[in-house]
């Protein structure tokens, strides 16, 4: 294990409505740092759809497959500079094939694995962001350390309880692929359970008073060892739970 420049905390908690129904948290996430000339950080988050029978499997598979494919490219090219939208579309096709196989085995539909995708791939002065569905990714860059920017607006259907999923036939078309040519120092990735809390609804922008104190503990030289636990407690506090009853996941990463 190399010593990473990134300090990362994470928490994923079942929403109170899911706890009441005795169902598990259907969010999934994975992150990894890879030693290259410039270290690579990959964070992937997926939110399994409430109505899908195998939502958790869908979210887990999405995280694992995307991570594996990204790693293969990173290790081959020693970096992220060659990743294009075309790559991601290939990965989505691969993912779709996996869901088809899983669905056939279990006599289900691919839609039974419906889930969203949020991914941040960062190296040096470059960041690549992928998104299908809702939730969001917020960053600060060296050039403006106190400006919190939402990379991609949450994709929402006509009504509050509809969005897009990686299992949609049109996934390759609705995929958002954004490249930022700047040094990203901090990144926060969250599922839609936190969306109404973390974003200003009218402007669809990052709510700085939410993220500023969140990222502050990660800016210090020595990060408290049980910070993830404290993040977990905060996300499960009444202050948060009276505003959302959905699953919620938050990953915070800083190299400041």
């Amino acid at each position: 294990m190399h010593s990473s420049q990134w300090k990362i905390v994470s928490a994923s908690i079942a929403g109170t409505s899911h706890v009441a129904k005795n169902s598990e948290c259907q969010d999934s996430f994975v992150w990894r740092t890879t030693e290259c000339k410039d270290e690579v950080l990959v964070v992937i988050v997926s939110d399994g759809a409430g109505s899908a029978k195998r939502a958790k499997v869908g979210a887990d598979t999405t995280c694992a497959t995307m991570m594996q494919e990204i790693q293969t490219v990173v290790e081959t090219d020693l970096g992220i500079h060659k990743i294009t939208r075309k790559h991601v579309v290939e990965w989505l096709n691969l993912l779709r094939t996996q869901f088809q196989i899983l669905a056939e085995t279990e006599k289900l539909e691919t839609g039974d694995f419906a889930c969203t995708l949020l991914a941040a791939i960062i190296q040096g002065e470059k960041g690549i962001f992928l998104q299908i569905g809702d939730g969001g990714m917020v960053y600060t860059a060296t050039e403006a350390p106190d400006e919190f920017h939402l990379v991609i607006e949450p994709q929402q259907g006509e009504y509050a309880n509809t969005t897009n999923f990686v299992t949609d036939l049109t996934a390759a078309d609705i995929l958002r692929f954004e490249v930022l040519e700047k040094r990203i120092d901090e990144i926060a990735i969250f599922t839609d359970g936190l969306q109404r809390i973390a974003l200003d609804y009218q402007t669809n922008t990052a709510h700085a008073p939410f993220f500023r104190p969140m990222l502050a503990p990660l800016r210090s030289e020595k990060v408290s060892p049980n910070l993830s636990e404290k993040l977990h407690d905060f996300l499960d506090s009444p202050k948060i739970n009276e505003r959302t009853d959905d699953d919620k996941t938050l990953i915070l990463a800083s190299r400041r």
């Binding site: 939110d47 759809a49 409430g50 929402q156 309880n161 973390a198 969140m214 948060i240 959905d246």
Partner: protein, 224 residues
């Protein structure tokens, strides 16, 4: 002081002030002369308990909004208002049954409400239209068939029709995509109970949820 900061490092996070998303519910209620007496009394009582049931859950009370349009004559008794602020009126039965006009006005009221919510950046759940009638329409209602069908097709709303006493089921069958149901006698209370339970399920749903409606055997409306 330093200690305290370390104990709860995230406590200072300020949450964005978002208004709750809304689920508009339009009630189209037949208050024609034939509803007079016991039926209208039962309907009024049911509206009162409907309000109480919506209020029993705080998220439902904030997210469901109700409008009440009666016919005849066609009158918007309550424009869209959150369940919190909904004051159930005491309806009186009179006049004929201008169903076509009621549907026309109702769809327009709903359209305006959706537009207003959108303009204010408020998220929406798919609205519900709930028609309760006991009689034979006295105006031209055929022209509304295509409007309701189009609304359902475009997911502009969900339309439910309910026949009371001797209402003509075939009229409602032509109007509604969903099978209309016949209420036994004037049992409004269990119906509104089902409606509030259903609206609670919808207003608690998150992206990707298929909303299962509470089981209510006589109606057979399973999910939306």
């Amino acid at each position: 002081m330093f200690e305290e900061d370390e104990q709860k490092p995230f406590i200072d996070a300020e949450l964005a002030e978002n208004p709750e998303p809304r689920c508009p519910c339009l009630l189209l209620l037949d208050t024609s002369g034939s509803m007079s007496g016991e039926p209208i009394r039962a309907l009024n009582a049911a509206l009162q308990s409907f309000k109480n049931e919506l209020m029993a859950d705080s998220m439902t009370a904030k997210r469901v909004e109700v409008a009440l349009l009666t016919f005849g004559p066609v009158e918007l008794v309550t424009d869209f208002v959150s369940a919190y602020n909904f004051v159930p009126p005491t309806l009186q039965a009179k006049g004929d049954t201008p169903l076509g006009k009621a549907l026309e006005v109702g769809l327009e009221v709903l359209r305006q409400r959706k537009q207003r919510l959108r303009e204010n950046g408020v998220d929406l759940y798919r609205p519900w239209i709930f028609l309760i009638t006991d009689g034979e329409p006295t105006d031209d209602w055929h022209r509304m068939i295509e409007h309701i069908k189009a609304g359902e097709e475009h997911k502009s709303f969900l339309f439910f029709a309910l026949a009371v006493n001797n209402a003509k089921l075939d009229v409602l069958k032509q109007l509604s995509v969903r099978e209309p149901m016949k209420l036994s006698g004037i049992q409004f209370r269990p119906l509104f109970r089902w409606l509030s339970d259903s609206l609670k399920a919808v207003s608690h749903s998150n992206p990707g949820d298929r909303v299962g409606l509470p089981d209510y055997k006589p109606y057979g409306w399973a999910d939306v």
